[in-house]
């Protein structure tokens, strides 16, 4: 699964996610990515999120929207909300994977709870990273 999240100069944010699914899948199984709210979500009031991992867990956890809700209703920062969802909520039900997220101020968060994560980010304030997390 691949994805991107961005915040533009005007404070508008967006998320995109695309996947080829799982090897040997059948029965018309769909993953996390086509599920708005599960693996993909954007709201200028909170954040834009794109997920990757075992989709069934992300669907059941409504992960992307959950991050947004924690920010909107609980007042959490982007970083705190992302870590709460990936390292506590989704992990507590056995879910493996991660997400990338931005908020309307251009902040970036990229938590994950499994190995082999391909990530990169760049910001107008000078942040630039291209990383393979093992």
């Amino acid at each position: 699964t691949v994805g991107a999240v961005a915040c533009d100069k005007y404070g508008n944010i967006a998320a995109a996610t695309s996947t080829g699914g799982m090897t040997n899948k059948k029965w018309g199984r769909v993953g996390d990515s086509p599920m708005i709210g599960a693996g993909n979500y954007a709201n200028n009031k909170t954040c834009a999120v794109s997920c990757t991992g075992s989709g069934e867990f992300f669907i059941r956890g409504v992960v992307a929207y959950d991050v947004s809700c924690l920010m909107e209703y609980k007042g959490m920062s982007l970083e705190a909300a992302c870590n709460e969802v990936i390292n506590k909520r989704i992990l507590s039900i056995g879910g493996d994977g991660g997400l990338i997220a931005v908020d309307a101020k251009g902040n970036i968060s990229m938590p994950f709870n499994t190995e082999g994560m391909y990530r990169a980010c760049k910001s107008s304030i000078g942040i630039e990273e291209v990383l393979i997390y093992e």
């Binding site: 699964t1 691949v2 994805g3 991107a4 961005a6 915040c7 533009d8 005007y10 404070g11 508008n12 944010i13 967006a14 998320a15 995109a16 996610t17 695309s18 996947t19 080829g20 699914g21 799982m22 090897t23 040997n24 899948k25 059948k26 018309g28 199984r29 990515s33 086509p34 708005i36 993909n40 979500y41 954007a42 709201n43 200028n44 834009a48 794109s50 990757t52 075992s54 867990f57 493996d96 997400l99 990338i100 309307a104 101020k105 970036i108 994950f112 190995e115 082999g116 994560m117 391909y118 990530r119 990169a120 980010c121 760049k122 910001s123 107008s124 304030i125 942040i127 291209v130 393979i132």
Partner: protein, 176 residues
């Protein structure tokens, strides 16, 4: 106008597990990530919208066989490719999604078209492909999506009830 703009991308969870990554492969992955990052960032730097930036970045990743999306999609149990994609913007909460499609090089652009040109959010299967054709998408042959690594990954599971996410080493898990 706000000044800070940013982009983040992911290439999914590892196709190559720990210990399998050579320097050459690592460089190839990093170059692909850098290319997608740069293309997306340049959209933002030039005053473009976040929705255009994320679509652009994902197209670059979909066109790279290293990642499980678009050209690099894994094989289904039937030896085909079924892809899903979704896109959403945070200003007006517009969204588009597509699922269970085959032959489309860039599913993310089809999702964008669904968001921009239809009254719906989520299209799937044959209906989604019909929408794609009407909106000018061409269908790629199966050979476009063939990759030896992906094919071998499928051979390991073919004929079984097991399926596998890229980063998982468990073959008997319901959830990969």
């Amino acid at each position: 106008m706000k000044n800070t703009f940013s982009i983040a991308i992911h290439g999914g969870a590892g196709t190559l597990l720990k210990g399998q990554m050579t320097q050459e492969k690592e460089l190839a992955y990093k170059n692909a990530l850098q290319s997608a990052l740069t293309e997306g960032y340049d959209v933002l730097k030039n005053g473009g919208s976040s929705i255009d930036a994320v679509e652009k970045a994902v197209i670059i990743l979909e066109n790279c066989p290293l990642f499980n999306a678009g050209k690099g999609s894994v094989f289904t149990a039937e030896g085909t490719h079924e892809m899903d994609a979704a896109i959403m913007e945070g200003n007006k909460l517009q969204a588009g999604a597509v699922s269970l499609i085959t032959g489309i090089a860039n599913p993310i652009s089809l999702a964008r078209n669904i968001m921009d040109k239809s009254e719906h959010v989520f299209l799937a299967g044959d209906g989604a492909l019909e929408f794609a054709k009407i909106n000018g998408f061409s269908l790629e042959p199966a050979s476009y999506f063939y990759d030896e690594l992906r094919y071998n990954q499928w051979q390991d599971l073919k004929g079984s009830d097991n399926f596998q996410l890229d980063h998982s080493v468990k073959k008997d898990s319901k959830f990969g």
